[in-house]
């Protein structure tokens, strides 16, 4: 049921599709519009003037512009999880069923109680909050700030997960063009005809830019016809890509541009399998900014009354959307361009109430037009607006010479001149330069490869736009001449700068943030004269419109009050994005479970079949434990797994270790330089534990490296450091030691690797390895490493190394056999009760054995801290050797690894507790270390742990406090040898 007819829709004309009527809702009321409308144009069509409330004073506001510079007409678009706060009605494409609501008002847009703020406006001046709310001190967080936070903000975010999808893509071109106005289209023609790869981005859904509203004659034909001919030619060029609904928002280094494509925002929701928006990274050799210019308001009392609108926006609404923002229009202008609105309005059959032109020298032609149409041309300034929520009723005019006049009108079009869109050209901290004839900033320098053309470059005439665009296109394609530029006349442009009409009443510079001319004067009085100070103190230009309509006027007023010129006053730094961009688009596909990639071990799906619980280790999913029916918690499962290994045999997927083939005649010499211990002396067929330092002397990584052939070592890293160690080794190889003949290849993914541990390991392996392989202690001693054949025909590598402290081997098979290997191990090991174990049991056994791991290798420990100082060779140079000798790194009071046991055997330990001497009260002076790793040891039937403790090794046997105020615990532990289990190593060697 449509409650409103389109009372303000013209009977004909416009680029709307009258055969496609659409219904939409605004603040609960249903309205009608057409395909091709924006929400703003459709609201105007229905005579809606009041669309929003301002940020601070909650003043009633109407639609000011017709584009992405809109400060006032912000709505919450859509509902539920798709609610989008602060959406500009001027850029929201109408679709059937669109729902929008006004925002930042309570209880309703018409009756907003927060408008009471206006009563306090004498106090709520710029920066008022810095001067008050300080007493009593506690009241800030308790009372003042929550109230301010509730009052501030604009629309409401949905507050629940965004249901839509986003993605990101790359595009590449020779010439990138921003804008499809006359300059942009001419540039596309010129560069496209040359064969260059061209991408043209247009933020609007319709192509043509200002031509759509302002028309004109190009190459002797009406603009609309020229546009369609041009688009047809561009469409015929396979090297030209036109992207509408796409805003170029930033320029980054190396000719990379950011663009946002609103793929499906014109629909109620994206079709299945499609995204809402797509972020483009466009790599372009050259770019042409033909993004046009933004008409600027004039600051005068009452300039924020609904019905006050930019003169060019009025033309857009009338010409493009066939709607009438007002029936009887007054204009307040200081330049020639404003007169176009007069012509447009008269052409549409609207009344002109008066033209207030600040210039003394209005042309005879205009005066004749006024006489013919019967409206006065007043040389003066608008000094006040009579009206309110329902719009403009009357305007007061201060005439040059001192007289006053009043004009009855229901709409006021304003034109203070045009500001070229200098954003993109300035994002590399470029400062635009002042151009006197148009009283505006124009691009000066630009990022490499970028030029501006047309209105964005300060060329306001249609002919000039076409010429500049075409020339820029030719230059960017780096070829000479491609036909002749399209031809059109250049309209006369004259302007008398006018920024601010002084007078009584609030005159807004920044509409959305309610920054008035007097706020700027106050800021100047208080010493905030630098434009950046001005911006920060008053919040000028920091609203969602990014100051597109307010910045230049603000600094012009600052210049006036501080007695400087505008160029002396300067601009603030321009910062991307050119329009606000949804955070979801920057994230694209990378959210939820797709935030980061997932790495799976070769036995992953088998483990999943067993019901394993997985843990995230970096990008890996690793089996943490394998629960069995009836087990009440993880501890029971882990305890069972540990006992099974210590008493029989178990296996664990350790494929996540980094694995690197180190090849070449100098491989041994190379490893000698990167490890603290020696590898060149390692016999073929043997493995050795190695420790790497950073150059600063701290431990970097550890792992076992085996020599498989004279010129081939197989190096393993920890799971966490696989990538960084590879990078480090390549640095050593390529940069530090290029004289060595050594080659590195990551083979992490080539090998499925399992640790098989426990006293029955040989029995299990005997089932699966061909009998020719001698697995006896003599035939395959501890730290042996060699290839063996498996029954059934594949080869495997066996390494007799042990992390668990048990008799153990690690076995590697090519990864595609990893799944088969675990299944075969289960089959072969059934008779021995073979038990798969996860990372928790692995961790328990390494703590029982006193092996250091991640928590101890924390980047701040030395080899000596870890009890591995003796490994450091004194006979060779290696990375980190020199710095490891610094005084603080060899100080006797360093925290070193020790074991800890609670004196109460039933007590649970926790990592992160601190170590405090027994006699001391906890405090910074007695904080002697902390617990790094703990576990319940099934073997010892109590909790045990490792800790880094000052002089720990000298204090074995001492009772200290484990102090854990975070968890409210404080208990006694005994410092002990970190090797809790089989300290002689008999089991792993047996």
């Amino acid at each position: 049921m449509v409650s409103h007819a389109q009372t303000h829709r013209l009977a004909s004309g416009g680029l709307i599709d009258r055969s496609a009527p659409l219904n939409f809702r605004f603040d609960g009321k249903t309205f009608a519009g057409f395909q091709g409308d924006t929400l703003a144009s459709a609201l105007i069509a229905n005579g809606v003037k009041l669309v929003g409330r301002s940020f601070k004073y909650h003043r009633p506001r109407g639609i000011l512009t017709s584009g992405s510079e809109e400060p006032n007409a912000l709505v919450e678009l859509r509902t539920g999880a798709r609610r989008e706060p602060n959406t500009k009605a001027t850029t929201a494409e109408l679709y059937d069923g669109l729902e929008a609501a006004s925002q930042n008002r309570w209880p309703s847009l018409r009756h907003d109680l927060m408008a009471v703020n206006q009563l306090f406006s004498p106090i709520f001046v710029a920066g008022f909050y810095y001067k008050t709310f300080m007493w009593p001190a506690k009241f800030w967080e308790a009372i003042y700030e929550p109230a301010i936070r509730r009052a501030a903000g604009l629309g409401r975010a949905a507050g629940v997960a965004d249901p839509d999808h986003y993605d990101k893509a790359w595009a590449h071109c020779d010439v990138l063009i921003a804008g499809s106005g006359p300059a942009g289209l001419a540039a596309a023609l010129a560069s496209g005809r040359s064969g260059a790869r061209v991408i043209l981005c247009e933020e609007d859904f319709a192509l043509g830019g200002r031509l759509l509203a302002d028309g004109g004659t190009i190459d002797g034909m009406p603009a609309a016809e020229w546009i369609s001919r041009t688009l047809a030619e561009l469409a015929s060029l396979p090297n030209v890509r036109i992207m509408n609904r796409t805003t170029l928002f930033g320029v980054y280094d190396g000719g990379t541009y950011g663009a946002i494509e609103r793929v499906n925002d014109h629909l109620p929701s994206p079709p299945e399998h499609q995204v809402r928006q797509r972020l483009w990274r466009i790599v372009a050799k050259r770019s042409i900014v033909a993004a046009g210019a933004i008409e600027r308001p004039i600051v005068f009392a009452g300039n924020d009354t609904p019905g006050v609108m930019m003169a060019s926006a009025m033309r857009t609404y009338v010409e493009r959307y066939a709607v009438t923002p007002a029936k009887r229009i007054a204009l307040f202008i200081n330049n020639e361009d404003g007169w176009r609105t007069v012509e447009t309005a008269l052409g549409a059959g609207l009344q002109i109430a008066a033209v207030v032109d600040a210039r003394p020298d209005v042309s005879a032609a205009h005066r004749a037009l006024a006489a013919k149409a019967g409206f006065p041309v007043l040389n003066g300034f608008v000094s006040g607006v009579d009206g309110g929520k329902d719009g403009v009723r009357k305007i007061s005019v201060a005439l040059v010479g001192g007289a006053r006049a009043e004009v009855e009108a229901d709409g006021l079009g304003v034109s203070g001149g045009w500001n070229p869109a200098v954003g993109l050209t300035s994002y590399h901290r470029g400062r635009p330069k002042w151009q006197d004839d148009i009283s505006a900033f124009v691009p000066d320098s630009a990022p490499p490869g970028m030029v501006a053309a047309g209105a964005a470059n300060g060329a306001f005439g249609l002919g000039a736009c076409l010429r500049q665009g075409f020339a820029a296109g030719v230059a960017a394609a780096q070829t000479a001449g491609h036909g002749v530029p399209p031809v059109a006349d250049d309209e006369a442009f004259s302007l008398t700068p006018l920024w601010h009409v002084a007078g009584k009443g609030k005159a807004f510079v920044d509409y959305q943030h309610d920054v008035t001319a007097s706020d700027i004067e106050l800021a100047q009085r208080e010493g905030f004269e630098s434009v950046e100070h001005l911006k920060r103190y008053t919040t000028l230009g920091m609203a969602t419109d990014q100051g597109k309509t307010s910045n230049v006027a603000g600094l012009a007023i600052m210049a006036a009050v501080s007695g400087k010129s505008i160029p002396e006053t300067g601009t603030t730094i321009y910062r991307p994005p050119y329009v606000p961009v949804a955070i979801g688009a920057f994230a694209g596909h990378h959210r939820d479970e797709n935030f980061h990639a997932t790495r799976l071990t070769p036995s992953h799906h088998w483990a999943a079949e067993q019901g394993a619980v997985f843990v995230d280790t970096g990008l890996w999913k690793r089996a943490q434990w394998y629960p069995r029916a009836g087990e009440k918690d993880w501890l029971e499962s882990v305890t069972r797994e540990v006992k099974a290994v210590r008493g029989g045999v178990g296996f664990c997927d350790v494929s996540t270790l980094g694995k690197i083939d180190v090849h070449g005649p100098d491989a041994g010499a190379f490893l000698d330089r990167v490890y603290i211990n020696t590898f060149s002396s390692l016999a073929v067929g043997k493995a050795r534990y190695g420790l790497m330092l950073r150059e600063d002397g701290m431990v970097y990584d550890d792992g076992t490296t085996s020599r498989l052939a004279e010129d081939h070592y197989f190096l393993t890293t920890t799971t966490a450091k696989a990538g960084p160690v590879m990078q480090h080794l390549e640095f050593c190889r390529q940069v530090l030691f290029p004289e060595l003949d050594v080659q590195l290849t990551s083979v992490s993914d080539q090998w499925a690797q399992f640790s098989i541990a426990g006293p029955k390991t040989r029995d299990l392996l005997g089932e699966i390895v061909e009998p020719v392989a001698d697995l006896s202690n003599e035939g395959f001693p501890f730290m042996g490493a060699r290839e063996v054949p498996l029954r059934g025909g594949i080869m495997a590598r066996l390494f007799r190394i042990s992390f668990s402290g048990e008799m153990a081997f690690e076995i590697s098979v090519p990864a595609r056999y990893g799944d088969a290997l675990v299944r075969n191990l289960m089959l072969a090991g059934k008779q021995f009760g073979v038990t798969p174990y996860g990372t928790e049991a692995l961790g328990v056994m390494r703590i029982e054995k006193g092996h250091v791991a991640g928590p101890e290798l924390n980047g701040a420990t030395t080899a000596a801290d870890l009890g591995l100082g003796k490994m450091m060779s004194t006979k060779k140079d290696f990375i980190g050797r020199v710095m490891a000798g610094r005084e603080a790194l060899v100080a006797p009071d360093r925290q070193v690894v020790v074991g800890i046991k609670p004196t109460d055997k039933t007590r649970r330990l926790r990592s992160g507790a601190h170590i405090i001497p027994k006699a001391e009260i906890p405090g910074p002076d007695h904080d002697q270390g902390y617990v790094t790793s703990v576990c319940f040891s099934p073997t010892l039937d109590q909790w045990i742990g490792l800790a880094l403790v000052e002089r720990g090794r000298e204090r074995i046997g001492e009772i200290v406090h484990a102090h854990d105020p975070l968890r409210g615990e404080n208990y006694d532990v005994e410092l002990c040898n970190p090797v809790f289990y089989d300290p002689d190593g008999g089991r792993q060697r047996g």
């Binding site: 300080m134 903000g153 950011g258 935030f595």
Partner: protein, 417 residues
Amino acid sequence: MKYSIFSLARAAFSGHKNWQRTWRDASPKDHYDVVIIGGGGHGLATAWFLASEYGIRNVAVLEKGWIGSGNAGRNTTIIRSNYGLPGNTGFYELSMKLWERMEQDLNYNTMVSQRGVINLYHSDAQRDAYARRGNTMRINGIDAELLDLAAVKKMMPFLNFDNARFPVQGGLLQRRGGTARHDAVVWGYAHAASALGVDIIQNCEVTGFSRDANGKVTGVETSRGTIGAGKVGMAVAGSSSRVAAMAGLRLPIESHVLQAFVSEAIKPLIPNVMTFGAGHFYVSQSDKGGLVFGGDIDGYNSYAQRGNMPVMEDVCEGGMALMPMIGRVRLLRQWGGIMDMSMDGSPIIDKTPVDGLYLNAGWCYGGFKATPGSGLVFAHLLARNEPHKEAARFRLDRFRRGAMIDEKGVGAQPNLH
């Protein structure tokens, strides 16, 4: 004029015509007891503490642009003292205590908002690391709480608990942490220091040092002439190496770009300050309503004060992974500051090898939250010629001795801190 609701109301009656400049616009004198180079938060705080705490009022702060134009105006406004290593812990808590009384000290509302800072953890290993850090804090008398998953859910029900790649398991909370209005801190110190006689001289770029025959610094050469000084303090993070080079010094510092972002203003959505433990993302919501967020540095040396897209995307990916409710909230502005990244991730406050020249640098990610503490300890060093006890570990020679304060444990690679 003392700022209060009463002075504000009185001023309103006179149309706000009677407000004075927030700080005096001073011209350089020939000589000061102390010249501070750098009109950011640290430099101005140092001047204020010199004047208010150490009775040294013949002080100038020289700023090459407008005050607060460096990192003081380009950060994510977070204050906290949740550090884990000796040196940092005590210092940042000293700073936290000064934040808590700043408005009354300065008669300027800097909007210190102790809304809580929570570091989320996503694994047992992270939980243990936070437990270690939280216990350090508690042992040092700093508030800290270790929250489990249920407590995090209660406090922030809007996080992605259901289908996250790295599910949240809990968090380390410092309730006293929060935010402050960064620009107001600069203006507040300028206001208060100026009132005590400090000369704040803008648009005055230091171009060199004056030295006597023994090499002692006797003043600075500036774009507004030579200014004599008993002592010169540098507080120019972002430009430390460039200024130090004028005195022939090389520092253990690299300059890196750190980006930050703000969204459009929305009604209150996020109550506190959060850091995501499984990616590079931290966020708070300003009183005005914008989500203020950031992540890691871009990773390469830069003085360009602008960032590139990969980090921008990385940060937003972190944000969406943590709370997919912000998908339709729009990013409004992006900016980049020049960070002094030191070789261990911790600051340097010390005398330099050049007599009369004092250094305050290397703030890495900690500069804003350090502002009042840095001002106090640097003023102490300048006034007393010996380090404040809470800055005793921030010495320049710690790298040579191997006494690094390396919270992340990544060593002498600044872009990893």
